[in-house]
Amino acid sequence: STIVLVFEAPKTFEFAIKAGQKVKVGNRLGDV
């Protein structure tokens, strides 16, 4: 299964993850 997130954010938004990285619930994905 897969979860896709689509969201609007200011252009200052930065991902804290990269493709291939393992994540767990509550881990930081990104911030403004």
Binding site: S1, I3, V4, L5, V6, G26, N27, D31
Partner: protein, 334 residues
């Protein structure tokens, strides 16, 4: 080898005409099929028509009764197992798929009557600390893609994209009474116009795709503080969504059955879309008990969906409010 390489005389001779012609035909076929892969078919309203595209293995797979297979798999895993076999069976499963048995609740493996229950296990309180940032992971898994959305297309894998409108669905514009009824009463609605994709000045649209492997914790949580205004249920195929298939099957995430939660957060539009797969065909949502996924019946055309509005959950917020990391629901076997 060295002497054979240096001393063997090279004899050049012309290729037969038929071989050359065959080569030209093959090159032409390759170019044509490459163009066909890139072609976008649109309907009379200019919206992209979702079609199955991929190598022959994908077409063979699409001929299989994947939805029925998924339901049989779920049914088989709903049988109650003998108590004595449960710890051995679930420990073997945990070993094979890398589950951490120390974080599950209850930790007594005899309490899980079957693999279906174990698959949808819950975690001990505090097992997943929540970062205090704008956006956190809604699930355990692997990030397959993330980035900005360009030209209203999301990248499935490098070089293969799918339409944002096809993923989220499109609201009917100027609905006729029949269309309004269809929208409200959960009948099929044909997409009409773009929705939820306009952004404010200074903002952009971003996306993240998280793949949940079989051994991962399969409940999903809210990734931020937001208000879910509506959900759209797209009945569809149940292809595997493993990275191996994602690389080969174009439009995978818009062909598969999925539930799109649409709403808003402090920066504007927010959408979350759990996508089902062959072994994990059912999606259940804690605050939407009416939702039924992977049920028997004929598949509607791709792009159609049923919609439910959550405005009654909170008339003030006009939707269902969620806090960061609040459990929303889960994926189930079958």
């Amino acid at each position: 080898l060295v002497s054979a390489w240096t001393q063997t005389p090279t004899k050049w001779y012309p290729l037969p005409l038929a071989v050359g012609a065959l080569l030209l035909v093959m090159i032409r076929y390759h170019k044509k099929s490459g163009r066909a892969e890139k072609e976008v078919h649109v309907d009379e309203e200019g919206h992209e028509v979702i079609k199955l595209k991929g190598p022959w293995q994908v077409h063979v797979m699409s001929a299989l009764p994947l939805r029925n297979m998924s339901r049989v798999w779920g049914y088989m895993n709903s049988f109650e197992l003998p108590i004595w076999i449960r710890p051995y069976g679930f420990r073997f499963y945990a070993y094979a798929f890398g589950c951490n048995l120390e974080e599950i609740e209850p930790s007594d493996l005899t309490k899980y009557a079957n693999l279906g229950q174990f698959f949808n296990r819950q975690l001990k309180a505090g097992a997943r600390p929540v970062d205090n940032v704008a956006l956190v992971s809604p699930a355990d898994g692997t990030v397959t893609r993330c980035g900005t959305i360009d030209n209203l297309h999301i990248e499935q894998v490098k070089g293969i994209t799918y339409s944002l409108d096809a993923l989220l669905g499109v609201e009917p514009s100027d609905p006729t009474p029949q269309e309004t009824l269809a929208c409200d009463k959960s009948l099929g609605v044909r997409k009409r116009s773009i929705s939820g994709t306009s952004v404010r000045d200074g903002n952009s649209l971003y996306f993240t795709v998280i793949y949940l492997a079989p051994g991962d914790y399969h409940r999903f949580h809210s990734p931020t503080a937001w208000v879910v205004e509506k959900r759209r249920h797209f009945v569809g195929k149940l292809f595997s969504v493993s990275p191996h298939i994602a690389k080969r099957l174009k439009n995978l995430f818009v062909l598969n059955e999925r539930v799109a939660f649409l709403g808003r957060w402090k920066y504007g539009f927010f959408g979350m879309i759990p996508v089902g797969a062959t072994n994990v065909g059912s999606i259940k949502v804690n605050f939407d008990l009416a939702l039924r996924t992977n049920v028997r019946g004929r598949l509607p055309p791709p792009g159609t969906y049923t919609e439910d509005i959550y405005s009654e959950a909170s008339p003030l917020l006009k939707g269902h409010p969620l806090t960061p990391a609040q459990e929303m629901g889960g994926f189930y076997l079958g």
